[in-house]
Subunit: 440 residues, 2 copies
């Protein structure tokens, strides 16, 4: 679980000023000092991007072998399937087995798609819109006041899907153990609430892994709508930064105990294992959901790209191969996360500005600034040439009600750039905080 840094100053034997409680005169002086530094940064013409969770070139280089592992026709006939030809809609059995082993979900319930799990989520929602969530269910396009639960801060692209389908987005508070389950249990009493978005492990952006109790409460949900579905985007299922990853209770197993496997669709992909947008994605659910989905998908396409699936199977061999590969990612990513956190501790903690998560996996750090200063910080950083995730993007409708959250994506820049960008960001955050406290 990503633990929050306490909102108190570090006392490294130096004089420390907490902005929030500082005297007006002190803040004036501090502002002048910060502005001077800000102008210096301005002159250095930064061009730094911490906006999206993209793997860095050195991470992508880890998968160079994927380019050559499949290199002659003889390999393309694999376990009886000619991967160069039409067929095998559900995906190569070996690829399905690999996902089954990684996620501990039965092979039979896994459908391997193209290269984008987001597309599988969109398409699943689209099927629900047009055909309903099961044979006989009302298509969601006929549901008045359609609502979707959005744990926030959360993933902007999830929210955008529900929004583009015309659903009303209901923010659910994220806690240190996952979405506030009291809220969730309460909301699902409304029969027009049809779905919830979840990133259960190393959640985007907080880095929180849902606690066992949270997962159990998800499995125990009794929604008023029998076509309510959990969109369980296990995007960072094996994306640990440290040897000891945070365990996530298996939702599929929990649901199975009470025969409710069809309440959730589980998604995952190799986008942050091999190539971002060029890997293999999957979905899984209960037997009935999968048969229903398949009955529509078989009208949509003949099959997905089995050669890319085969490349992944040959490159990794088995789940152990994936875990070994992820350790190499961690070697690259961990110092980046630690760099950001170290600078936050050094620059922000002493003045009592902000609190942040310390994720043990995934792609993001969530930074909560003093209320009402996130947008200003974003603007100040932008002027310096530091691009952050659009402020507000982690909330439904792109609106952070407290204007305080920033999503930090440390993966793409190299350490030197990342250091500069984080320092610049801290300066901007401090300046925005001082401005806020001065305007009281």
């Amino acid at each position: 679980m990503g633990c929050k840094s306490a909102n108190k100053p570090y006392m490294r034997g130096m004089v420390v000023m907490l902005y929030e409680t500082a005297a007006h005169g002190e803040l004036i002086k501090e502002k002048e000092a910060l502005l001077k530094k800000y102008d210096e940064y301005k002159k250095s013409n930064l061009k730094l991007d911490m906006s999206r969770g993209k793997p860095s070139p050195s991470q992508l280089e880890l998968s160079e072998g994927l380019l050559t592992v499949l290199n002659e026709d003889a390999q393309t006939r694999f376990e009886g399937t000619d991967c160069r030809n039409y067929g095998v809609l559900d995906g190569l059995p070996a690829m399905r087995k690999l996902f089954a082993a990684l996620l501990d979900i039965p092979y039979e319930n896994i459908f391997v798609g193209g290269s984008s799990s987001l597309q599988m989520m969109f398409d699943t929602f689209a099927r629900h819109m047009i055909f309903g969530a099961y044979k006989g269910a009302a298509p969601l396009c006929t549901v008045k006041n359609l609502k979707v639960l959005c744990p926030a801060p959360g993933y902007d692209r999830h929210f955008a899907i529900a929004q583009c389908f015309g659903a009303q987005l209901i923010a659910v508070k994220m806690t240190a153990s996952g979405p506030d389950m009291d809220e969730v249990e309460n909301y699902v009493k409304d029969p027009t609430v049809k779905a919830i978005w979840c990133v259960p492990k190393y959640s985007n952006p907080t880095g929180v892994t849902y606690s066992p109790e949270t997962v159990r409460r998800f499995a125990a949900l009794e929604p008023a709508a029998d076509d309510f579905r959990i969109f369980w985007d296990n995007a960072y299922a094996f994306h640990d930064l440290y040897d000891r990853g945070e365990p996530l209770l298996n939702l599929y197993e929990e649901l199975k105990k009470t025969g409710k496997e069809n309440m959730a669709y589980i998604f995952a992909s190799f986008s942050k294992v091999t190539y971002a947008g060029g890997s293999v994605a999957m979905m899984a659910s209960g037997k009935e959901n999968m048969e229903f989905s398949r009955s529509i998908i078989e009208k949509q396409t003949i099959c997905n790209d089995k050669l890319n699936q085969l490349r992944h199977v040959l490159f990794f061999g088995n789940a152990e191969g994936v875990y070994a590969h992820m350790k190499k990612h961690a070697e690259i990513l961990r110092p980046k996360f630690e760099t950001v956190l170290r600078i936050f501790e050094r620059e922000l903690a002493p003045v009592g500005v902000g609190s942040w998560t310390k994720p043990r996996g995934g792609y993001f750090i969530s930074l909560d600034l003093p209320e009402g200063t996130a947008a200003r910080t974003y603007e100040l950083a932008k002027t310096l040439g530091v691009t952050l995730t659009n402020v507000g993007d982690t909330f439904p409708y792109g609106k952070d009600p407290l204007d305080r959250n920033l999503r930090i994506a440390p993966s793409f820049p190299e350490i030197e750039e990342l250091t500069k960008a984080t320092e610049a960001l801290c300066l901007c955050a401090k300046l925005a905080a001082v401005e806020k406290y001065l305007s009281r």
Copy 2:
């Protein structure tokens, strides 16, 4: 244009019997002779498949170089894009340019997707269902008595898409110059007619290429529905069997003359150029359509697999590279088509059973048998172990009103198998015809 074989006997100096006009006694004897042969075939335990338009292994071997053309990281940064990472939703510019050159459509109007053009068609239809065909248009899911025009015989998977979305399928007669445009012009006066499926070149299954007049009449359509769209599946755009391909008038250019580019979506793919279901697909339309589609697709996915696009760009280089490659396909396919046609001429023509198209490209031969005998022929062949495309599949709702059409797919089997399968098919067709004429 695929020309029809005249329905008259060949007179190779032998006694010829036209079944249709033969005396009862003659037919009885013929039936006995045919049944004897049929029993011989039965003993030989055939297992032959002429059901789907799949490329054969020898065709797929032509693209072995695609497996190795992209083999190191240095190549993956292409024209400023790291193809291993997220981004470039519309597809690699070089891939878009390749399609632009091949199809003579402006680069700007081309969107390159994943590996399946069928998926792009389904998704386009799905967008129309949920969002309407343009911003402000009524979603098709709200249209009562939604209708889609289906030139028949045509492509079963096209019909299945419209059917699964609940549209009423209206059969339009296919002629030797394309769909009967009198019928089309008449049907589009109905504002609930929202789309038509077209395979304009080497049409599936007739092999007909639409005449210039047909294309011009499509471009000149004035449908009552302003959200009527032509789904122009140019699946066999450069799939000639002979050096002189059949030219197809450029619908995009024709539409442009009157500013109606948004009336059509044009689709194509490399599924029958490189790997079936593992290649690259595209769609194109007018600026407004493309912007509208893109505004939804950007919610659906971050990007498609650019590495596979890059492989294709590197493998072919330019349009000439594709044309040269297609000539190699033709060398393999042409003898197969000619084998089937030769056997039809030898076995069916002398007894006046059936008529068939002689396509100069594409993947299919359309065989019209005496009315009421296609299903029986299919069953007889199935018993022998010869799998044909499900009888009726080339018609809306899988029902051939005259029960006479069979789609022959000569591409997959090797010549020896194909010869056996076609001879077996001819025997079954003759037997079914004799049965029919005996039961008068």
